[in-house]
Symmetry: C2
Amino acid sequence: MNKGILYGVGVGPGDPELLTLKAVRILKEADIIAVPDKGAGEQTALTIVKDYIEGKERVNCAAPMTRDPVRLEESYQANADRLCALLDQGKNVAFITLGDPTVYSTYMYTHKKVLERGYTARLIPGVPSFCAVAARLNTSLCEGSDRLLVVPASYEHLEESLDVRANKVLMKAGKSIGELQEALRRRGELDRASLVENCGMENERVYQRFAGMEEKTGYFSVVLVKDGGQA
Amino acid sequence: MNKGILYGVGVGPGDPELLTLKAVRILKEADIIAVPDKGAGEQTALTIVKDYIEGKERVNCAAPMTRDPVRLEESYQANADRLCALLDQGKNVAFITLGDPTVYSTYMYTHKKVLERGYTARLIPGVPSFCAVAARLNTSLCEGSDRLLVVPASYEHLEESLDVRANKVLMKAGKSIGELQEALRRRGELDRASLVENCGMENERVYQRFAGMEEKTGYFSVVLVKDGGQA
């Protein structure tokens, strides 16, 4: 029997209409849908694709919210074990992941393990959250000779990142939002910053001016800071 | 009569299956399709959407391949004149643009002019070329605490861009490909670089190792350079 294929399917940032035609086809054709499970019942990716996977078998794959490398490695090996057993049965599996699978998705760790074991695994691109955020703000991410720097949630070396001459996207601002707001204020850059939380989802909030934001925001916040053009 | 709405529709990087459901809906609902015209008959965006716009009225909008600011300004004003006249007639216009409209699209200049004149203009996100390129290479753009720097074709300050500690996407490498290859060789980074030309199109070429590339490449080349982790 031919082995199945694993597809890492980017489902876009939240709005189900931002699924690509290819993602929809792969989801419809797949035998099994693999769903990242952060353990708190939060399955945003599943909500996005629900219209296309009715009646299909699902497997939950651990995506623990930890930085403990031992626990993460165990999770990804367990995911690979489980998925490879399905591929051995000739099943095609679509693993859904928010945004684009090549941009900070934890899916990639499982993808690499499955590839290393000699199976076929492919990536299906999706719209990354920062493109949807810029569209929502009705502005560009980068024009002409602008550079664009995308910085992950962890914000290690935040000041160093802010020093780079580029428009900046700060992903999953969530917990670090206060720190970021303070750093931008100190640098006089707060007026060039905007924020969108839960872009394209029911609980979306848009701040054209980050300076005007008082509340704490959730995990799915993206901050866009336009370069001021200083040397 | 209500005025029409202008939609800047990202049609993705080349593969028609990477259109989003929303892009397809907007194209089908639009009264008129505006097509960027680079003057050499090159209308890649039109090829991508051809199945969804049969029989619809089209307008060509100049997108001249020049850096002359006077000519560019004239072109964008002329586009805005033309589009606003259609919006005044209550027509909804879908302006198609490759990739995502917020990432280096010349459409944005026309978009801003139409907004400035008090019309409604919206952006419909698309899959940017660099996400499709990473998927084609079966690798991530960024993981964990990686940063991602996107650098435009012009390559002003190329060395400074390469100095930034980040994974790098070099867009539309085309004409500057030799210069870039030489700079990466000098820095000992050529082995971490890959290149995809015309990703998802008929004439696609993939170089997992940029070092192995001898030929000159076309305009739609994207180079991905992974960070080596040096301080």
